[in-house]
């Protein structure tokens, strides 16, 4: 596959791994932000190619993992309404709420449809004028433009029976929260390449300067990640704290401006709760006033109680890179992908599930 195979080339990967071993003189703890990167690391067994001096910890960039349990409960309650066709990306379906997942209510007869694009949900709305179509708008800055476009399209075409349940989150405020925590032990970051493809990386320059950490904007293929690690280690070993762009084939410093404009037209920044982490100021998106009538929470008011996570689950600490999944007493015993206690065990992008699926014992 063109544009993929060259980034999965064993020879290039081997050379990069050797270069990392050569550059690395001291122990370093690096965090890859995005769940997609965690997935690549575990799936390709990259950790087995790195020197023991480098510890990779896994960040909060798994949208499924950080969506609060209360919002899953709301999704479940809305999806169960007979007039609703609930649409969602596939991997939200298995996430357990406090009692049920979307898959559970689907099995009970709710009309829940998996879509690959939010615009498909708008099409479903046009094809079913007598039903209410709700799209679960989940994700980071990467999915926000497409979700904004769906809302904008529905508005422009007067598709009144389309609304969104918004759970959008933003990366830089989460990184700031992690770096501000006294428990933080992260010395360098691999920033999420696809998020930066949309947003650019000026915000990351501010973070790097403020917290004196190197941040490498990194892609998702094995060679990308090894190169990102190499750049990060070189920064750390030479005491440089700035932003470097490993993913230059996709990411520009200013990002994708039309996409940013689309997001800004439909959404505005707001406070948001992150599952396992808590409230982070200015870390989420909500619909702007002209689109607020498409807010599914408003269209289908539902009362859900405040829910606490199982006390044994350390997913908050895992999502902040303070602990690794294997540090959890429930990992692989009481908590498995079949019976997840926390969201990082549910999504294939979640760090716990990635360890469970791929880690060499």
């Amino acid at each position: 596959m063109k544009h993929l195979d060259e980034y999965r080339d064993p020879e290039r990967a081997g050379k990069l791994a050797a270069a990392i071993r050569q550059s690395c003189a001291r122990p370093w703890t690096l965090m890859e932000i995005c769940g997609g990167q965690t997935h690549t690391i575990m799936k390709s067994g990259l950790q087995t190619m790195l020197p023991d001096l480098i510890s990779l910890v896994h960040g909060p960039g798994c949208p499924v993992c950080v969506t609060p349990i209360e919002l899953i409960d709301k999704a479940v309650a809305i999806a169960a309404r007979p007039e609703v066709i609930f649409t969602s990306f596939g991997d939200m379906l298995r996430v357990p709420g406090s009692h049920k997942s979307l898959q559970d209510v689907k099995a009970e007869g709710a009309d829940i449809r998996m879509v690959y694009s939010p615009l498909d949900a708008v099409k479903i709305a046009q094809a079913n004028p007598s039903r209410q179509i709700v799209f679960f708008a989940v994700g980071f800055e990467t999915t926000a433009p497409a979700n904004a476009m769906a809302v904008w399209t529905a508005e422009k075409q007067g598709v009144e029976n389309f609304s969104v349940l918004v759970a959008h989150v933003l990366v830089p405020p989460a990184m700031e929260a992690i770096l501000s925590s006294p428990a933080c032990r992260i010395q360098g970051f691999l920033a999420p390449g696809h998020v930066c493809a949309i947003t650019g990386f000026r915000d990351y320059e501010t973070l790097a300067a403020k917290f004196r950490v190197p941040i490498v904007v990194t892609g998702f293929e094995p060679v990308d990640i090894l190169e990102g690690v190499l750049m990060c280690v070189e920064h750390l070993e030479s005491g440089r704290f700035d932003v470097e762009n490993q993913y230059g084939r996709i990411v520009r410093r200013d990002g994708n401006v039309p996409a940013q404009d689309t997001v800004a037209e439909v959404f505005e920044v707001t406070e948001r709760a992150w599952r396992g982490i808590g409230e982070i100021p200015q870390s989420g998106l909500q619909l702007r006033a002209p689109y607020a009538h498409r807010n599914a929470e408003r269209r289908f008011p539902t009362q859900v109680g405040r829910v606490s996570e199982p006390s044994v689950c350390i997913s908050g600490l895992v999502l902040q890179g303070v602990k690794k999944p294997v540090d959890c007493p429930a990992f692989g015993t009481r908590c498995t992908p079949d019976h997840p206690l926390g969201a990082p065990m549910v999504s294939s992008e979640g760090a716990c599930a990635a360890y469970y699926l791929y880690a060499k014992a």
């Binding site: 081997g14 994700g139 094995p222 992908p337 791929y358």
Partner: protein, 313 residues
């Protein structure tokens, strides 16, 4: 889910040595003839997909379950459950595809049954087939030895991707065809050449990963496979990439894995030119499958829980 049902409802009631072997079919002796017997039900949606129909699947699936017992498939039974309103012409198309598949596999359909249920009580059409075959060679997980070569019979993932892309209305530039096919011809060719096959397993639901894990568990021997040596067609690889699926977990309907002594592997590859030597059985009494990734890292190839769901981003 079905595994849990089997464990909790059926096994306690019906347990016996043949069922407990948990193979694709039961193997037994009647008047000195070694026979294999198997059954399977087909509820696939859509009923017609690129490269096949529910009819091909119903014949090939049962033929393949017999072939995986080292048995030459001989006779099939067939039960149809039809939903009221199903068009006769459509049913004829399905029946014709079954006839073609049976001819190709060299089996006869010798008994059958048809039931019609009310509109809305079935997804158009369900088929059950059962089959009897003559065991030509004893194969089984218990015959797997440390050092055995693990051979994959061809490229993986085409069936699952063909079904999923049709079901989800996804279109790729080149349509991916299901690999549905009878496997007896390939097994027969190996046996004819005198290859002592230790174990066979078709790579249906859960793909190569499930097959290897189940065998590693039942034999309690670790296995090691090399991702770079597991063939996946470029079109399937690209489609899986787009859908966020891993071809090693995707279902196949015309592929199998064979375990043979290492010195027989070159001959197997000569007889089956599409096959690939994917790995080895280790001398390590652990129910674990290791994978060397395409770029040279090591990890575990773990069973999947539930269905693979496409990722958000």
């Amino acid at each position: 889910m079905s595994q849990r049902l089997i464990e909790s409802v059926f096994m306690p009631l019906f347990s016996n040595d043949m069922l407990d072997a948990r193979h694709d079919g039961a193997v037994f002796t009647v008047d000195e003839a070694n026979l294999a017997f198997t059954t399977d039900s087909y509820v696939v949606r859509p009923l017609i997909f690129p490269g096949g129909t529910i009819g091909d699947l119903a014949v090939n699936g049962t033929v393949n379950d017999l072939a995986m017992c080292g048995a030459q498939p001989l006779y099939l039974s067939c039960g149809f459950i039809l939903e009221e309103g199903l068009e006769i012409e459509f049913l004829r198309t399905i029946a014709e595809s079954m006839k073609a598949a049976a001819d190709r596999a060299g089996v006869k359909l010798v008994t059958g049954d048809t039931k019609v249920v009310d509109h809305g009580k079935a997804d158009g059409l369900y088929i059950n087939t059962a089959g009897i075959g003559r065991v030509c060679h004893r194969v089984g997980a218990d015959r797997i030895q440390p050092g055995d070569a693990i051979i994959v019979s061809g490229d993986l993932g085409a069936h699952g991707v063909a079904i999923l892309s049709t079901r989800e209305g996804l279109q790729f530039e080149s349509a991916i065809q299901s690999d549905t096919a009878p496997l007896w011809c390939e097994v027969d060719a190996l046996l004819d050449a005198g290859i002592d096959i230790h174990c066979l397993r078709d790579l249906t639901r859960g793909g190569l990963t499930s097959a290897l894990n189940e065998l590693a568990q039942s034999r309690r021997l670790a296995m090691h496979v090399d991702e770079a040596r597991i063939p996946v067609a470029d079109t399937v690889r690209s489609a899986c990439e787009l859908l966020g699926l891993d071809p090693l977990y995707v279902a196949n309907e015309g592929r199998f894995v064979a375990f043979v002594a290492p010195n027989e592997a070159p001959r197997v590859l000569e007889i089956l030119p599409q096959a690939s030597l994917a790995g080895t059985v280790l001398d390590e009494p652990k129910p674990t499958v290791y994978l060397r990734s395409r770029i040279g890292g090591e990890r575990i190839l773990h069973m999947i829980s539930g269905e693979q769901l496409p990722r958000i981003c």
